[in-house]
Symmetry: C2
Amino acid sequence: MKSLLEQCKSLKKASAGLAVMETRAKNEALLCVARALKRNGKTILMANEADVKAAEESGMKSSLVDRLRLTEARIDDMIEGIEKVVSLKDPVWNSRDVWTLENGITVSKMSVPLGVISIIYESRPNVTIDAFTLALKSGNAILLRGSSTAINSNKALVDTVKQGLSESSVSPDIIELVEDTDRSLVGELLNMTDYLDLVIPRGGAGLIKFVTENSRVPTIETGVGNCHVFVDETADLEKAVAIVENAKIQRPGVCNACETLLVHSSVASQFLPELKERIGDRVELRGCERTAAVIDVVPAVELDWETEYLDYILAVRIVDDCDEAIEHVNRYGTKHSEAIITNDLANSRKFQRHIDAAAVYVNASTRFTDGGAMGFGAEMGISTQKIHARGPMGLNELVTIKYVMNGDGQTRE
Amino acid sequence: MKSLLEQCKSLKKASAGLAVMETRAKNEALLCVARALKRNGKTILMANEADVKAAEESGMKSSLVDRLRLTEARIDDMIEGIEKVVSLKDPVWNSRDVWTLENGITVSKMSVPLGVISIIYESRPNVTIDAFTLALKSGNAILLRGSSTAINSNKALVDTVKQGLSESSVSPDIIELVEDTDRSLVGELLNMTDYLDLVIPRGGAGLIKFVTENSRVPTIETGVGNCHVFVDETADLEKAVAIVENAKIQRPGVCNACETLLVHSSVASQFLPELKERIGDRVELRGCERTAAVIDVVPAVELDWETEYLDYILAVRIVDDCDEAIEHVNRYGTKHSEAIITNDLANSRKFQRHIDAAAVYVNASTRFTDGGAMGFGAEMGISTQKIHARGPMGLNELVTIKYVMNGDGQTRE
């Protein structure tokens, strides 16, 4: 087994060739991997079965075991995911900025791969294939560090990827899995500044915090979403009920689900009973004092405004105007996805300009903030920081730029 | 005097208003500052005189004292710099990506300010005004931490800026100077993740290393440039001599100056004597063994290939082809600015694709890698990392994005 340092060196070396590879060759390599996945399905499922068994024996929650479990259908989904990425435009060596200096030098701001990306992630083994696929298409080598609970599945998947690549013109050395899941190795990984260009943590808040606090390699923070829907005075209340229901319930465990509802005081007495009738049997409502005067709720405390429940719980607060809603969101939000339901043009404009978040909606559910829904085809995670990438990270977020300068002898005066 | 924490809180608060300010108001505020600089010229020069005197008494090198010294002409340059930035396009709330999803939601990827930027810099007090000007125009509040040797100058400059702003509609709270230059405060600053969105170190290698290794706030590494010029077999040798002379000598102390020359073996016997005749009296040449067989040079050692001299010294190595040149550059370079002098189309294409650097030149001096020369109007520094910004950082590198999503009731299925 290679050491982490050997893996990093090998990835860096392989990344140079990958960075300048033709789109056609990269697509063919991806399809080789898809075929290998099809072929190795049984082996992968057997390896996964060992992980699932160990997880069950360790007493893992059944919802988490379900995330860990692979099936033939889930392997088919991975294959479909690869085919989808094959169909996407190559993000490398494109430009929308070409200009000529007064001295005649032509400057082209070209997109180029980052080099070597590392992703540190939890549980779901499909991330292994998603991350690899996006990395290859964007010309980046990838170092994967999955969780110990999925180690057998990840080994089988990475073996399969390497097997597929060995049948293509892309080197199998562009992907490495950290097989020793001892936590100290993560610390070592986060110091590999000579070899890694980016580290993406994808998982729970604890993992993300550990990585962003300890990494010397540049990182992109992903995930935490304390998202709000604000129902304004002029909102179409029927649509507002449907949007809040969708943003809260359609999939409560994800980062773009709504956690706090803000309601304009002048429509609260009509809107809140309608909402409670629609979702009250499925969602625990925790309201401010003014909310409690309108509908029956659990009293909300300060902590409720700060909490990403990821559950069938919704905090509710009555506000007196759009400004108060904006203030609440900018104070308690995590800069992920925020929505206003309104028919007032000035308020919609104000909300979208003043809210500091990756995605700010007017009259739509917050649930659309992801690479699939936004048309990126796939995503590496959702950035909640401002540097480099914000919001869903698709292929175009996995590149940097290079200024290509063409002259005919120019010197500086 | 405010504590650092109080300064950070105040900046964050002020940044919200600045982020949504009209271009006209920002430009008027910049011109108020320009007028205040004109008016306070004498006060600023007196403050600077104190810094210069202290520096001279401490035995500072005269070249560094010169960088520290302000004159009426240098204050006029600052004012001109402000007027230049006023004339540039506002980088905020623009988009080149607007699309509509299948469900009818229109997505606009809008540019928005980062929030609060901090710059940690050495000596030159003009950076104080440059950094403030770019920050204001791009809608960002700014925390300045200059060196102790320029503290009186920086205080006078920031007082002047605040005075100018107080005559405008922009709050004077958008700029703060860390007046206590104790180093421990830098450590504190690098942990202000709740308030700062970006830290830019600008100065020597030691400062940059300290910041990138210790910061929990995202940083952009600037500056170190071990740049190469490769004279290929088919180069126009007359142009090649002029380019090497320019890249090495025109201003040897800057990061885009050439430090190592690579020469194709088939032209070395003609090119090297010509070069030596042109620059040999001003530049110490340190050559590989093959170079020493052609011209009289100081023998180069391994360390020479790694060194950013920032001086009248040039390392010289003979290589056998373009591939060997690319290998040398990717091994020893710092990913800043690299040039090939050639008339071979295939080699020019290969060099520009395979070299991993912010700027890769064909047939031009490496000295053009800066915001002024590239037409950005001004710059905050030159990024040598790949995340967020690469190469000169102008106004467009000081923004992030926000997805503005407009619907009419869409929910996710």
